[in-house]
């Protein structure tokens, strides 16, 4: 990675804004971005919005959008631009794009994260007792089989 590109705030980036809010719709986010008159490209999708533009413009827009509902709007980077032929479903003959499955899986967890952020903001103590995911013991499996 060339240090020049990485440090340059004028480089072109894409961010995915995932909206998981009861009060804000992806279309509201689009309108907010259009009203901001920022020099960015916006693409609405089923989970939210993709924004492409210079780093400075995108970060400004993203900050404005997140402020609409901070605990329910989430942001991540995206490597490919919206509509890039290597990822765009229209060109690849349909089907989910690579990486979408993982995004969808994480979107299912977002309500828990939102609750966590709200509780943290209010300073509520977090409950303890994260249960470790353990592999099923062979003896337990045998017990289950024999109980049938």
């Amino acid at each position: 990675m060339s240090p020049k590109n990485k440090k340059d705030n004028g480089d072109i980036i894409t961010r995915i804004i995932v909206v998981n809010s009861e009060n804000v719709l992806p279309s509201d986010v689009s309108m907010k971005i259009y009203h901001s008159k920022a020099d960015v490209t916006v693409k609405e999708s089923c989970f939210g919005i993709m924004v492409k533009g210079s780093r400075r413009s995108v970060e400004k827009v993203v900050d404005e959008v997140v402020s609409m509902d901070p605990n329910h709007i989430f942001v991540k980077d995206r490597g490919f631009s919206p509509g890039d032929e290597r990822r765009c479903r229209a060109v690849r003959g349909g089907g989910p794009r690579p990486g979408f499955h993982f995004l969808r899986e994480e979107i299912n967890i977002l309500p828990f994260i939102s609750k966590g952020l709200e509780a943290y903001e209010k300073g509520l103590p977090s409950p303890k007792g994260f249960k470790e995911k353990n592999k099923l013991k062979a003896s337990k499996l045998k017990e289950l089989i024999e109980s049938e």
């Binding site: 990675m1 980077d77 899986e105």
Partner: protein, 168 residues
């Protein structure tokens, strides 16, 4: 780092695993640090003129670069991925690992690369937090709280001397 960037993103570089995670990259950014993510590497790769050969993203060059992290007997897919992940691990000043995520597709879809990535992160002498993805509301609160506390405890700019002086 120039002054402008200091104003924009001044804090520690945090490696996340899964390296494409929406939740982790958002939380790291939300609590004021810079997430080191695979997407940045991919963007850099596909936007750099002359080394790409669409529709393939990984060219014969990457498995050679990956030799720095894995032996030649290791499959070229692992080495190719490590050419992208390895520099992130080198750059990391802290790390958050989610253990055994249920799903890891796309750039994350190689179990051996994932094992090697976690191994290299753990070998590095940096602050590390290991958590599990939450399955309910209570776990969600604990998940966020642990990550927030961890990120707030990190020294700014990875400069531990300054942090000690500030009493952090």
């Amino acid at each position: 780092m120039n002054l402008n960037e200091c104003e924009l993103r001044p804090l520690a570089k945090v490696m996340i695993y899964p390296t494409t995670s929406l939740i982790l990259s958002d939380l790291v950014r939300r609590f004021g640090h810079r997430p080191l993510v695979m997407m940045e590497q991919v963007r850099e790769k596909i936007n750099t003129v002359g080394i790409d050969s669409p529709p393939l993203n990984i060219t014969p060059r990457e498995p050679k670069l990956g030799l720095k992290y894995a032996a030649v007997e290791v499959p070229s897919g692992v080495r190719g991925r490590m050419a992208l992940v390895g520099p992130l691990i080198e750059e990391a000043e802290a790390a958050i690992i989610v253990n055994e995520p249920d799903i890891a597709f796309g750039c994350m879809g190689c179990a051996r690369t994932n094992e090697l990535t976690k191994y290299l992160i753990r070998q590095k002498d940096i602050p590390l937090l290991e958590v599990n993805y939450p399955q309910n509301e209570d776990e969600g609160r604990e998940f966020v709280s642990k990550i927030a506390d961890f990120l707030k405890s990190l020294p700014q700019n990875g400069d531990s001397e300054n942090a000690e002086e500030d009493g952090q």
